[in-house]
Structures are given as C-alpha cells and as structure tokens.
Symmetry: D3
Subunit: 130 residues, 6 copies
C-alpha cells in the first residue's frame, strides 16, 4: 500500500479530474498509473508535475526515446523501482529493443563504476575539463 | 590532490604504458586525463576499466552521443563532479549543442524529482508495469 | 526475511531486554517494531542507536513533528522504504495531516530536482553563500 | 566554472529577463544567484523551475522555515554542496538559529544512519506500518 | 519479474553458456543466480562482468571475506537489496559470523551518519588530509 | 568555509573541551580535525558522535584497518569527499598499502556497477538468498 490512498476516478477533485483527462488525451489510453493516483491528493502538485513532465518529455532537440533512456538511467542510479519499471514500460512502448535496453544498462553500470572510482580516488578535475 | 599520486608517463609500468598508448590511439589525441593517471597505480584495474569503457561506449544499437548523455545523467544522479565534467567535455567533442545539454539536464531534473515523489509516497508498481 | 532473525522478547539478552523495556516505557505502547528486533542481535548497537534516537528526536529547538518530517525527507532521498514507512507512521501518530504530508513530499521532490540541476550544471557557489 | 556560462542580465532573452524580474520582486533584493543564471540558457526550464519553487516554498500547511530545513536535509542526503549552502543561507535569512541548525543536522545524521542499518539488515516492514 | 526474462540454461547463446560453465566451475556449484540469468541477454556484458568480478574478488592483498564486507557496505549505501542479499549470502559462505555481520553493519551506519553530518555542515578538508 | 564556524580550543564549552581532551588522549596526538570543530557547536552531538565512533571503530571481531576500509567504501558510495579523505588518512596511519588501497577501490567500483545493473534490470532476489 502506498503512504496515501490511490484515488479512483470518482474520488478526484475537479482540478485533479481535469489533469487525468489530459493524461488520457495526451497518452491516448484510458489507463492512468498509480503515480498520478497518489499525487492526486494534492491537485496543485499533480498538475505541476504533469505539466512539467509533458513539457520535458516532448520531442525537442533530444528525441522521446532517448529521453526515456535518460530517465531510466537516473532512476536506476537513485534506486527507484517504481520509476525504473514505469519508464522501461514507456521506453518499450516507444520501441526500445531488448538489445538497446541491455546496452543502456551497460552504460549505466560503467558510469556507476567510474563515478565511484573517481570519488574514492578523489581525482582532481583536469584543467582541460573546466 | 588525489588520494594517490597522478602518474606521469615516465612513471608507468609497461602494462599501464600499453593502455595509455591504446587510449591515445583510440582517442586520436596525446592527452590522457587524470582519471587514468590515478588508476595507473593498478595496471590490472586500469586495463580492465579502459577495455570495458572502450567496449561499452563504442557505437552499437545506441549511438555514442546518446551514451555520453546517459553517462552524464548517472554522474549527476550520483553526485560525481569529475564524471559530470569529463563526460560533458566528451559530449561536446561529439557535437552536443547547448540546447541539447539543457534539455538533457531538464530530463535529469524531472527524473530526480519524480523518483523522490514515488519513494516518499511509496507508490506500488502497477500490474501493467510488471 | 531480514538478514538476521528478528528476535522475539524471550530471545533477548538482558542488556537488549532492558532497551526494549525503555522503548515501551518511552513510547507508551507494548509494540516494538522490527528494526529494533534486528538490532537486538548486537545489544551495544541496539542501546547506542536507541539512546541516540531518543536524544535526537526529543523536543528541542525544533519540534518533534518537524523532526519526523526531516527524517522522512532524508529517507526518501536515500531510498529507504522501511524508514519512509516507519517515520510516516510516527508522523501520523504526532498528528501530521494528509495535506501537510503532500506538502512535505512536494518540497522533497523540488529539492531533489534542483539538487540534480545544480550538479549536472556544476553551478559554482555564490560568494554570498560562503 | 559551470558547465554553461552564467548569464549576466544583459545577455538574457526576454522570457528569462521576465523571470529574473519576478525573482527580484518576490525576494525583494536585486541579487540573483548563480543557479538561475545557469538555468537562464533554457528560458522554459528557468520559468518552470522558478514557478514551481515559488509555489512549493510559499507558506502553506508547513511554514517556510520548516520547508527550508527539509530542503537542506534532502540536499545533504543527496550530496549537493550548492543546494546545502544556498538553502542554509535562505534558512538563516528566515531566522534559523545556530542551535536549530545543529539540531537539524543531528536529525539528518541519525536518519542517514538508521536508513543504512535498515537497508544493510533488510528489515521487513512491520504490518503495522503498511 | 525482472525487466528482461531470466534465461534458463537451454535458452543461452553459446558465449553465455560458456560463462555459465565457468561460473559453475569457479564456484563449485550448479547454482547460477538470477543476476547472471538477466545479464545473459547480452553475452558481452555477461562475460565482461563475470571476468571483472572474478578478478576483483579473488584473493589479493585484501582477503575474500573482507572484500565481501566492502561489497555489502557499498550495496547498503546505494540501496540495492539484491546486492545486499546476494553478497551477504556470499559472506556467510565464506564464514562470516553473526557478530561480525552486526559489527560490519555498525560501521556502515556510523559512516553513513558522519557522511551526512560532514555534508550538511560543509566541513572543509583539513590541510593534513590533502 | 563551513556552515558554522570551526571552533578553536579556547572557544569550546566545557563539555566540548572534555571531548576534545578524550580525542587527543585516545588518538595520542594534539591534532583535532575540522569535523569535530564543527560539531563542537552542539556538545551533545559532539559527545554522542565521538563516543559512538570510538565504540564502533575499536578492535572487535573485525580489525580496525578493515573497519577503515568499510568506512571509505561507504563514503565513496555516498559522495562525501571529507569522509573519503579523512578515513583514507586514518587507513594510511593504520598501515594500508597503496596496493591494498587500489584493491579496495576496485571492489567499490565493481560493487557500484553491479548494484546499478541489478537495479536497472530489477533482478528478483533468488529464493536461495532469502
């Protein structure tokens, strides 16, 4: 169980219901996942988070699938199961292959390792990188 | 200063010198950054890390610039200044624009925020994501 | 299952039993949660942790409910489910409302986001903040 | 140096300049710290972040000083020097005393310790906390 | 369920099967744990990770049980349940006692606490430590 | 500069001065590092932290040098420069060799990598490890 009750559609305040409607319209599916049902207790937080996500994840100078890969990388690096799983599902919906997924995972692993090597050894930043 | 002395070229053991030669050949530059000069105290670690990085960051089903973006994302999420700076330099060398960099940063920020929202609220993973 | 057996009351060494008695006296309840039952394998660790918690979480210049909120914030930021859940229960026992809980979560989320933005961009600390 | 140039006032695009004007109006000071000068390269990110911060940190069911304390706690838990320093400055401006600051730090420390104890021992969540 | 199917022995590509054979030979057991069954989707990643682990965890100037303790410490500090559990099992197989395990956990906890105290207070590194 | 002034000996309250005297006696040196000079603003925090460290880091079923290695591992995994540097200095004082230090760093790196691989792939814990 989550910390707060996951709200069902009939329990939403109007401002939250409007956000759910937009989520459904943008994603072209009736399914609204648990994350939004928890945030719905605070319509301002729900609305702000959804508007931000919509804006950030939209196609820009980085394509949407790459953005999902970046999202998964951060989520693994911050130990968030929910976010790893939900954004892997999103990446699959956007066409990521198993091979790309394993390659993404390889990069995340190498970055994690070299991060800790650099920190344990306290390697000073090269002048060339400043 | 780093935890161990940064080794200069003339201080390298032969196995480490061979790795430095390969770094220079692959990267087509004489410059070898501090990270490798710290690892050089342990030629086996140096060699293993370089061989792994070379393999992981090579073009595959994910292109090299996208891989650098994933690397930066993990490094920011794990608070490693050295890695953020060195891989941002690498991404710039591979042609990332300021606009793409800011967009990458935006995705990292949103992921970090929603990670913590999901964790603070302990949102259960939807059946659809399992 | 935890890494070590959760000790039942009749399995405690005398020094651990004394700590359990104090936990019950201070909290005015017979319930002793799993965290302490795992630590009880090492009575010195159990005693030190309980004495520290008791001292740190007592009313001081910061009130006990605010302290629980700080505790939850750290626990979400460090991805500890057990601690998020146990301290949210403690905060509820101290009267936190759903609205305050959502507001706490909003601050945690924003802090997490701006942390990663500052780290990804390597923003230098302003002179005014030093 | 940060990853991107810190923009001076005369280098801002109009949308960014408008955000800076609002920051100055809300905070009643001419000083705009480096964080915003880095974000200013992406006016949409700048605007979204500022609007969110303004909304989240405003007085609500949790008072502004408590919110700053939560912010500092997350920033220390996520190893962000910039954020620890800037929000400690903000907390001081809102009247935090040295004694409160040390008490905040004590809670952060205890939470960090018990987080890792619970994770290392893999303590299962009590039924009572679910 | 994991993000990718856990591969059974008969589903392995030849390069992955060879790694599994080596894991069984080195560990003197038929059991191959889930971690390797997930990595097996990418034989290059599987092989590289196994070869690295084998090299790093072998007896050297640090004994194998101490290495397992270091592994557990990092895994608790990075909130990885899988790794805490699998390396605690490995440490038990190498003879760690309950008392040593609790002592390890105590050190991890203290380090976590003082890490956050130092970060929250932004303690400058002493000249003597540079 | 740290968040709070680093206290000099003549600025200490009596309870803090007593702790400094004990630090000097136990460590057999007049040098008291900055960490304690920052904590000294809160004599109760100073005393509790010092008593805990003294107890945890004392010889037990794990030897003091191994404990320092565990401390360094956690500090690198949690991105705390102060703690990496101060405990590496302590490990050197206890006789760690450069070779052991590099081997420690290798284990930390591998653990960090496999942690993130396991998290990114959401590998389920094997029944044998529960």
């Amino acid at each position: 169980m989550s910390i707060v009750k996951l709200l069902q559609d009939h329990e939403l305040e109007p401002e939250a219901a409007a956000v759910f409607a937009d989520i459904r319209a943008v994603r072209k599916t009736d399914f609204v996942n648990n994350f939004w049902r928890a945030l719905a207790h605070d319509p301002a937080l729900l609305k702000r988070t959804w508007e931000s996500i919509k804006q950030v994840m939209a196609p820009g100078t980085i394509d949407p699938l790459t953005k999902e890969m970046i999202y998964i990388a951060v989520s693994a690096a911050q130990s968030c199961e929910y976010c790893v799983r939900s954004h892997t599902a999103a990446a699959r919906a956007k066409g990521i292959t198993d091979q790309q997924l394993m390659e993404l995972v390889s990069v995340v692993g190498m970055a994690a390792e070299t991060n800790r090597l650099a920190l344990a050894l306290q390697v000073p930043v090269d002048e060339a990188f400043k």
